[in-house]
Structures are given as C-alpha cells and as structure tokens.
Symmetry: C2
Subunit: 301 residues, 2 copies
C-alpha cells in the first residue's frame, strides 16, 4: 500500500484504467472517484471502479493523492475548485498530455503545502469513457514525470512516491523537464494525431470521391490514419492549444518538408523522392530494434 486514499477526478479511459489497476495491486486503501458528468459517475458505480462521490468534500477528505484525469484544458480550473477541500501535505498529480501549460496554470495559485508532481502516462487506445478502461493499459508503457523546480525534501519525497505509484501501475518511469516533454511529445504524438485528423477530413471533403469508396479501399494505408484519428475531440483540442509553441514549430517544419516533396513530384525529381523514402525506411528499423513495435496498435496520447 502506497497511499491511504487515492482520489481520481475524471473517469475516462485513463481514470478508469487507473482504478482497475489500483484495485488489482491493492496499492491504496480506498479508490475515490469523481466525474462532473452524472451519467459517468453512475456508470463508474455500476462498474464497481471504487467509491464514487457526488461532491469534492467527500471525495477529498483524507485523500493523500489526488490525480487529475480530466481533459488537459480543464485541469487548471478543477485544481482551483478542489483546493479548499485538499488537506495539507496531499500530493496532487495529473495525467495530462501537455505539461508546461498545465504546470504554469496550476503553479499560479498552488499553496506550498500541496505537493504537485505532474505525470504523463504515454498509453491509450482510440476508445474513451469509463467502459474503455482496463488494468493493463500502462503495462510496459512509459510514464513521464516532470517534477517542478523545487528541492524541498518533502516535495522530493512526493515525487518519489509518484514514481513508485506508476511503477506499480506497470509503467516504466522517466523524469524530464516539462519543456523537453512537450517538445518530444509534440513530435511523437501531437503532430501525428493532427496530421491524421487532417487527412481524414481532406478525404471527406473530396467532392469527386464518395466516402464509401474511400472506406472500401482504405486498407492501402488510409485505414491506419483513421485509427489514430478516432481519439477524443475535447482531449485533443486541448492538447493542440496548450502545446501551441512546440506544435506550431514542428508543423512548420513538416509543411516545408511536404512542400519540398510536392516540388520533387512536380519536377520528376525521382532522386529526392527515393532518398527521402530510403531515410524514412531506416527509422522503421530503429523502432523495431528498440522493441517499440507491436502488432496490436496501442496509441499513446
């Protein structure tokens, strides 16, 4: 047992997966759950995910860990709302896919007696909601901890407990600065998702192609973009807006590179195309060598 009472706010894919895994490992005395949506609370109750509360007061009483599992854009407001009900010494954490902006927002009003240790588990599927969760979601995935610049002994102990917690969840833990996290994730997750969302709508807008034609022949590559593009709209809207700088920077580079390929096609420059494809192919080998591939896609966030 690492915590006496873990309070989870937001019972979606991540929140419910955490509840399943905490239950399985027995690492908390109580799993306390809350969601702003009444139907979700009801469903969490039916699924026996833990003790479901209808208000913050009951939820947070004696909780020694609070994890924000709402969409990233709501975390600042939720943190502000729950502050009056949090007891001194409580550890606050989150699972947001963006770190810099969330930390900045929460740090503005966070009192020193609450220890904020932000985290981001890179795990997910294209499904969402309380029914989507399962205990093994975090197994062998990375969970990145982005500690604040604070070398207070009690704070460092809180960070250590969060690391221990994520290891219990089955994840491999790595520390990073928030800035580094946001850059790396913009490249490996945010931009791939933005591109997938974009190409699917481009296909929908082709007035000389029917949707059923596109779907019928989607095994040619398009299908796999639709899988990435199936993720939660609220979550992803927030990610793009909160990680604006890194996303814009990489998007600018990608657009330049794509324009260069377009030019190579226009001018029959087979050499540039061949070299680009050859380089891209090499990266694939490294992904496989690093054991980062699996037959069954498990999309992170």
């Amino acid at each position: 047992m690492i915590f006496n009472k873990i309070a989870i706010i937001g019972i979606g894919l991540i929140g419910s997966s955490l509840a399943h895994k905490i239950k399985e490992t027995g690492c908390a005395g109580e799993i306390a759950l809350y969601d702003s949506n009444e139907n979700v609370r009801k469903r969490a109750n039916e699924l026996s995910l833990g003790v479901v509360y209808d208000d913050y007061q009951g939820l947070l009483k004696s909780a020694d860990l609070v994890i924000l599992c709402t969409p990233s854009g709501a975390m600042g407001n939720v943190a502000k709302e729950i502050l009056p009900f949090m007891e001194s010494g409580t550890i606050l954490s989150d699972v947001g896919s963006v770190k810099g902006a969330i930390i900045k927002e929460i740090q503005e009003f966070l009192p020193p007696y609450i220890h904020f240790a932000p985290a981001h588990p890179i795990a997910g599927t294209e499904l969402s909601g309380p029914d989507a969760g399962f205990a093994n979601l975090f197994e062998n995935r990375w969970s990145i901890i982005t500690p604040l610049e604070n070398d207070n002994a009690e704070y460092l102990k809180a960070v250590e407990k969060i690391q221990e917690f994520w290891q219990k969840m089955g994840a491999n833990v790595e520390n990073m600065t928030p800035e580094r996290h946001d850059l790396v994730l913009a490249m490996t997750s945010h931009i791939p998702h933005l591109i997938a969302f974009c190409i699917v709508t481009t296909a929908e807008d082709m007035e000389n192609l029917t949707e059923s034609e596109v779907v019928k022949y989607s095994a040619g590559g398009f299908r796999d973009f639709t899988r990435i593009a199936a993720s939660d709209p609220t979550m992803w809207r927030d990610v793009f807006l909160l990680n604006k700088d890194a996303v814009m920077e990489i998007l600018g580079r990608f657009s330049e590179d794509l324009t260069a390929l377009r030019r190579a096609i226009r001018w029959d420059d087979g050499e540039t195309l061949f070299d680009t494809i050859t380089r891209a192919r090499r990266m694939r080998k490294e992904v496989i060598d690093a054991g980062q591939d699996s037959d069954k896609p498990n999309f992170g966030r």
Copy 2:
C-alpha cells in the same frame, strides 16, 4: 486449371506471393519466373517458387498469361522487351499501383494480338523481396481490374479470365476505369504513404531531438507512421511520379486543410479544432462498420 503456363516477371513480395498461391491452388500447369536480379532468381530457386528462367525466351515460350510484377516505373520497358517473345493470344497483366500511366505507356506499342488486362491487388506488407511472399497475402483483399476500352470478344474473355484468376488468388474483384482507380488510390494509399515518409524525415531532421528519444516515445502515434513508411523506395518513387496529377491535386488540398488547422491553433480557435476532430472520428466508425479494420495492419500499395 485456368492457365497452362503463367510467367511472372519480378519476384518481389507480390510476385513471390502469387507463385505461392498459384502453386497452392494448382490454377496453372507451370509457374515460370524471371527477375532481372541474378541473386533474386537464385533465391527464388532455393525457395522452390516455380521454374526460374534466365532469359525471356524460355520464360515466355507457350506462356498464356504474363504478369508484370516489377516496380511500376519499369513496366513499360519490360513490356517492350518481352514483346518479341510473346505468342499471339497471350494475356498480359500487371500488378502496378498506378494504372493510367502504365496503360498509356504500354498501349503505345502493344500489338492487337496481345490482350492487356491490367490489375492492381490492394495488398502488401512493409516487407519486400522473394522471401517476403506468402500464399494468403491476397485473401479477402480487393483486386481492381481496369480493362481497356475494347469490346472485342476475345479481349473481353481475357478480362474475364483475369477476374477468375484473382478470385482464385483469394481476392475480391472489382472493375474500375484507370482514371477512377488512380484517384481513389491516391487518396487511400499514395497520399497516406507520402505523408508518412515526410513526417519520419521531419523527425530525423529535428536538431534539438535525438533519434533515440523519438523512437523511445514513438508509441504515441509516430510508431504507426514509421510502419507505413517502411515500404520499398523504388516502388513508391514510381507511384508518386506516375500518378502525379491525382497525387498533386490531393496533396494541395491536404496542405490547405493543414494550414487552416495551423491557423486555428495560432488563433486559439478551439471550435474549429473540435469540429475537425469530431468529423475525423466519425470516419473511423465507418471503416470499422465496413469491416475494413483489422488488428494486424496489412498495408496495401
């Protein structure tokens, strides 16, 4: 038995998969194989894929079906080279991922006594070469036949035999005009591949990100782009150059759409982002409903 002797030119993923399946079904009296690369011929022999010939003369003697399985860009030249050795009434087919340009090239010199019935099986993996082939590659995949405008009775019979052949290979057969094929495939296969090639090289060029960092956290979406990007450089260079018009048209639209999303991010236009993601998500449902999804990706070409 549909054919007495099928000659396959080009023993890569598709050529060797055809050889495996023809053998399994016994739909040809002889499987005759040729590849311009001596090592590939040697390997095909070791794999017992069929009778491997070192020249066109032996390969094509008494062959009643010849299938071009070379990269698309080489098909015109190969067709010209083999013409002197092809007997009257022989059916010529191919497996090229582009149809309009290949047909135009071959029609220029094709005599009326050779029946050209072009085809494109939408099946593939990210692997290539004679060892990559397997008999079930075409199982339940689409094979698109794009017949020439020719209502000669003997020609129509040749097209029917090609349809029958692909059904024997396990594929679902559909007829289409070459123009339609090239537009549909540009959207469902060529553009997704081009984008995947592009984003992987964009990531490689990020001077403030190491390759191992990108690979390590690639489960967030990037990994799945590297899988699409692992395909054969020669084949894909040819596809982009031969299907230039459709690829450029869709690439133009995609770039516009991506610029609009970039603008939405810059101006904090959450509504546009939310609507786009919601639309993209809907398409996913249709792919699943159409039975076009599978856990194990099988990329077409």
